[in-house]
Amino acid sequence: MSTQTEPESETEIEESEAAATETESAVESPGDRRRREKQERATEREAERAEAEETLDEEETVQIKVFRYDPEVEGKQEPRFDDFHVPFFKGMTVLDALIYARDTYDSSLTFRHSCRQAVCGSDALFINGRQRLACQTQIADLDSETVRVEPLPHQDVVKDLVVDMEHFYDQMDSVEPYFDADELPEDDETQRQTPENREKVKMSTRCIWCGACMSSCNIAAEDNQYLGPAAINMAYRFAMDEREGEIRKEDRLKIVEQEHGVWRCQTQFSCTEVCPKDIPLTEHIQELKREAVKSNLKFW
């Protein structure tokens, strides 16, 4: 079919222009009627909205309680919670509510966000007592009158909902988080990988570095050197990728085998529960423990 010919839309536009100019035209075509009705509905909705804004009562609003802190600003140096009442709409996420509160009530409300679709990992927050991505959390699903939003626990708070991610990034970097094959084919050839092997590493490659898992783990909270579930999962992603080869795998196992590596995991499972990408973190950590033991047994 061609995109160049669209006869019907041309006439429709002419019609609509005509309709716009000759509003008091006597005979109303069905199209005109619909457009008029549409117009009426729009005015109605606008009026409703105006009214709603005046009488924001509890039924159609949600209350969000947001953690506030700023080391620099007087009055915010002492952490506190601020309440915002935000008009609710179907499909509203916690991120939408935060954005509304910021843009309408307090532009100094600070949080990270970007993609709005659970791929950038910026907005992992502690929402109603659990690590979640704000953009991925429907307010309706929380089943609660108020939504309590805090920065990720166990991380230093920079300001409001923004935490210092440096330590998390350091842990990620410490597992040599890059593909590094023992040998590569010719320049114009790809490596082979069985679909089964890809399937095996698939879940582990989905990590978006949001840090929710690390924040939920009691061990990571206490033991600062613990690699943490995300970094171990990263190591898993490469160690299990058959394209890298055995030599590299040995090296990778050595990294996760250190005192503050996999052994620190006490299988609390909270990392697995909060991961927005459903990565079976505990399973991966456990598998690495077994792999590590196996590779050591070889030398006994």
């Binding site: 206490e222 600062n224 250190q258 052994w263 590590a292």
Partner: protein, 121 residues
């Protein structure tokens, strides 16, 4: 890359031993409890009874192994728990040797007691 991480001790051995001892302990602990609280009611325990049991070589060996594995398992567990809490550096080392010392004392004393319970001495 290996030398890069050589400062880290491989923790796999202790992890594995913790599991192996656990498997052993399941049986022995259950047996121990059952024997001394249900079969022979604890309140009826006398030195005579104990001596009779301990003088059997199999029982003695089991109890002694029980002591050793439980000590390792328990003390290693405590040590792990402390590392999990972020214990580091010199304090960690001090705690480590303290725990080793405590375990050795416990095993030594336990062995002494066990031998005293037999009719060998």
């Amino acid at each position: 890359m290996a030398e890069h991480y050589s400062s880290f001790q491989r923790g796999g051995t202790r992890w594995l031993l913790q599991r192996v001892t656990a498997v052993f302990l399941i049986g022995v602990l259950a047996f121990h409890f059952f024997l001394l609280h249900f079969v022979n009611h604890a309140s009826e325990i006398t030195f005579m009874g104990t001596q009779a049991r301990m003088s059997q070589f199999g029982y003695f060996a089991t109890m002694w192994l029980f002591l050793v594995t439980a000590t390792f398992h328990g003390v290693n567990g405590v040590y792990n728990a402390l590392i999990n809490q972020g214990l580091e550096g010199t304090r960690k080392n001090a705690v480590k040797w303290l725990l080793v010392l405590a375990s050795l004392l416990l095993i030594a004393q336990g062995t002494r007691v066990a031998i005293a319970m037999t009719n060998l001495v």
